[in-house]
């Protein structure tokens, strides 16, 4: 029964999207994190999605294959009074771009909702199928 497979497919997508939302939350939380004494600042993280075959006939779910770090240099601000400043008086902050993260968040949240709706519809159809011949 292929209808049951929909729950696996949409479920995999929901879990992948929620991981993406988690990553966005991590990035946004650390948007203003300054580099510690080791000089390494927080790097923005991005999830990478990949298709996973689920059964035959083109049924495909999705999974997160890796969480990649953005290699861009962190934001540098001249602030000699800051305890985190280096010898030249610069403080290195994370390389998170809050605007990008907000867009990412909206996209992830919409995709999440879409997949929930898919599951709800599949559930309704399955329940109706169970009542076949009773109405």
């Amino acid at each position: 029964m292929s209808m049951f497979n929909i729950f696996h497919i949409a479920g995999s997508a929901v879990s992948a999207q929620s991981q993406r939302l988690n990553t966005v939350a991590t990035n946004l939380a650390n948007a203003d994190t300054a580099a510690g004494p080791d000089g390494k600042s927080f790097k923005a993280r991005q999830v990478v999605f990949q298709t996973v075959p689920m059964g035959d006939n083109g049924a495909a779910g999705v999974k997160v294959v890796q969480v990649r770090e953005d290699t861009a240099e962190g934001r540098r601000v001249h602030d000699p009074g800051n305890p985190n400043a280096d010898t030249n008086g610069y403080v290195t902050y994370s390389n998170v771009n809050p605007v990008e993260e907000m867009v990412n968040m909206i996209s992830a949240s919409r995709s999440y909702q879409n997949n929930i709706e898919v599951m709800n519809t599949a559930k309704t159809l399955l329940l109706k199928t169970l009542q076949m011949g009773q109405g």
């Binding site: 929909i6 298709t51 035959d56 006939n57 999705v62 879409n114 519809t121 109706k128």
Partner: protein, 139 residues
């Protein structure tokens, strides 16, 4: 005798199976809306249903897995037909930087459309069953 009872429902049964296959296909497309490089799939519903019920296979005998023994059970009508008919790739309406061809608006429309038609097919089956029951009861 028993197959006389079910023969009239055979077409709708095949249609229902194909509808659920298509529902799953659209669910896959929606799930992969953000996957880089994913190509949206689609089936030609009319053509596939024709293959399952029409001239390719006798009505009531859907396209089946090859049975090498008379005692083999008939399996996978819709799956076999769908594999045979070579599923199509949806043409992207707008190009995307990550080579993903899922058009969310179209997929959602197809999903709603397919869900309604699935329920319609269910209604047809229920109607057929009720007619048959009325005939049996003779009231």
């Amino acid at each position: 005798m028993l197959n006389r009872l079910s023969a009239s429902l055979e077409f709708q049964t095949q249609a229902l199976t194909l509808r659920s296959e298509r529902q799953r296909l659209i669910a896959s497309n929606i799930a992969n809306a953000d996957t880089p490089g994913y190509q949206a799939r689609e089936i030609d519903f009319a053509k596939t249903l024709q293959q399952m019920t029409g001239s390719g296979a006798a009505i009531g005998a859907p396209a089946l897995l090859a049975g090498t023994d008379a005692r083999h059970l008939a399996t996978g009508g819709a799956s076999a037909a769908m594999r045979d008919s070579q599923m199509l790739y949806a043409a992207p309406s707008q190009t995307n930087l990550d080579a993903n061809t899922v058009d969310m608006d179209r997929e959602r429309a197809s999903f709603a459309d397919n869900a309604v038609k699935y329920q319609a097919t269910l209604q047809f089956i229920n109607g057929g069953l009720r007619t048959m029951l009325d005939a049996i009861k003779g009231q």
